[in-house]
């Protein structure tokens, strides 16, 4: 009896954790993903060695593949924590690069 109650509570916790996993991964795969993809596109547009309009267009055209692959990675990654740490890290790095390049030479 008591045992069943414990395992019942355990399975409730497991289910609750699973729900949170899905919610957190969904947030990462949508909002976080859009932010990171935008930064990747922005940095590509700044740093690709083409004319500005060509670099912007190249980045715009590729960003959908980037977004899709990142979304798949978010759901395939081993842990949610890993997803968030890596996403935040890359976003910060790209954000700094973008900021530095904007400081170095302005926009048209």
């Amino acid at each position: 009896m008591a045992r069943a109650a414990v395992s019942g509570r355990q399975s409730a916790i497991v289910r609750w954790l699973a729900v949170w996993q899905v919610i957190l991964r969904t947030i990462a795969a949508t909002g976080g993903n859009y932010l990171l993809t935008s930064l990747i596109a922005g940095v590509m547009a700044r740093l690709l060695p083409f004319a500005p309009s060509e670099a912007s267009m190249t980045a715009t055209l590729s960003c959908f593949l980037v977004f899709a692959l990142l979304a798949m990675w978010v759901f395939a990654a081993r842990s949610v924590l890993r997803v968030y740490v890596l996403m935040a890290g890359w976003s910060a790095l790209l954000g700094v690069i973008l900021w530095l390049s904007l400081r170095a030479w302005g926009r048209l």
Binding site: A18, Q21, V22, R25, T37, S38, L39, A41, G42, V43, M44, A45, R46, F50, A51, P52, S53, E54, A55, S56, M57, T58, A59, T60, L61, C63, F64, L65, F67, A68, L69, A71, M72, F75, A76, R78, L98, L102, G106, R107, L108
Partner: protein, 519 residues
Amino acid sequence: MKAGLRQSMAWLHTWTELLLGWLLFAMFLTGTAAYFNDEITRWMQPEIEGEADPIDSAIGAAAYLREKAPNSPSWFITPTSERQVVTNVFWRPAPSDEGGGRGRSATLDGQGTEVELRDTRGGNFLYRFHFDLHYMPVIWARYLVGVAAMFMLIAILSGVVTHKKIFADFFMLRFGKGQRSWLDAHNVTAVMALPFHLMITYTGLVTLATLYMPWAIAANYADSGTYFEALFPQDAMEATGVAAPLTPLRPVLEDALSYWPDGHLGTAQVSNPGDTAARIMVFRSPGDTVGTRAERLVFDGVSGALLSTPPARGAARETESVMVGLHAGRFAGPALRWLYFLSGVGGTIMVGSGLVLWTVKRRQKLEDPDRPHFGFRLVERLNVATVAGLPAAVAGYFIANWLLPLDLEARAEWEIHCLFILWGASLVWAVGRPVKRAWVEVMAAGACLYAAVPLVNALTTSRHLLASLTKGDWVFAGFDLSMLFFAVLIGLAARRLALHRPRERTPRVRGAKPAEALS
């Protein structure tokens, strides 16, 4: 989620597809129909037929506009073409004009006379619904459609990972085996046209790319206007206010055509007609090249001299132009156009069968399959209304075009209302009936509606199937025959479903013989 890449991809695939599946189904269906946009419009305006020379039509249209809108800042003339029997003109009214702001448009015949055609949005409604939806602000519709397309891209890519055995499965089509058959239908339509689906989804996103991802442009341009100006130089000038007669159009258009050997005339734009600053921009027909950002020549509107030729495009720009062109398929001749259409039908079936598969798969896992929970029933009913109801409603749209009184106020809008009323009715029916009956009945109704389209055509106009077949009018004959084809297709599906008896849940399976299942 902990259980390996394939499982998590399968999970992702299932849920992304379901969440936006209904919208994607509608997008696929109307987008597929839009490959015959011009032909549908011609069928829906049976008053006019025949052919007219594009240059003559453009000259006629310019005469019409000189009369109607001499002070307009710009005219747009889209003359007749291989696929279009009328000339469409659009103009911005002069600021001083009554009513102001909003652009006006008219439909003209080959001589530039305004023609009395029934008020309809024709195939253009299906084309616009594909990305603008209806009854909602366009901008929100486009975001929604973009989210759906992105889900579709993720569903396709994760679907490829899920169905690694997909090529083995491909040779093991199992008809008449319940869930297995739905899965096979889903896989076969998905794999056969996988390159098409991937292409159409990606290029679809590209058509509205700068709306969804403006940041790559923002990174280089403080004002996106600068970017678009660099891409599409306007060349129009401020009006000087000094009157000067517009140069005759024929030499200008003939000049333009000689610039493009084998080319065709697209839209001609005249800015500041009757002013010394007049310019004539002649676009090449989008049917001429895969790339859709049509080439453009600029002429002086007073002297008729060629001022500028299309600037060379960079590789990325050219890629974008070709991607959008591949999506819209305007370059496609009849054979390729049909291939586009059939691929689109395949895509529609793929999304539809994926939606059905979702419920078939889950029904077996339900605690009490005879009394499913609310969420499951909701999905089931929405599936009926979408997969069976929407095609029926589109047939209703065509029938409304023939049956609504010609002098009805806001007639074009009412045709569209008819589509949505029918679509809504199918949902009400799906909710009110046992689900299997609802499938059969809505599909049967759809088959009847499709069969009725050529019939109503025969009863209300002189351009019925026999007449168009003997005349060799392939637009009308093709349309009527396609309607009959869909009537048979949907009818057969309804019949199969009606005769289908679910197998008993016994360990010994009395499997259907393949031959019998195929019939």
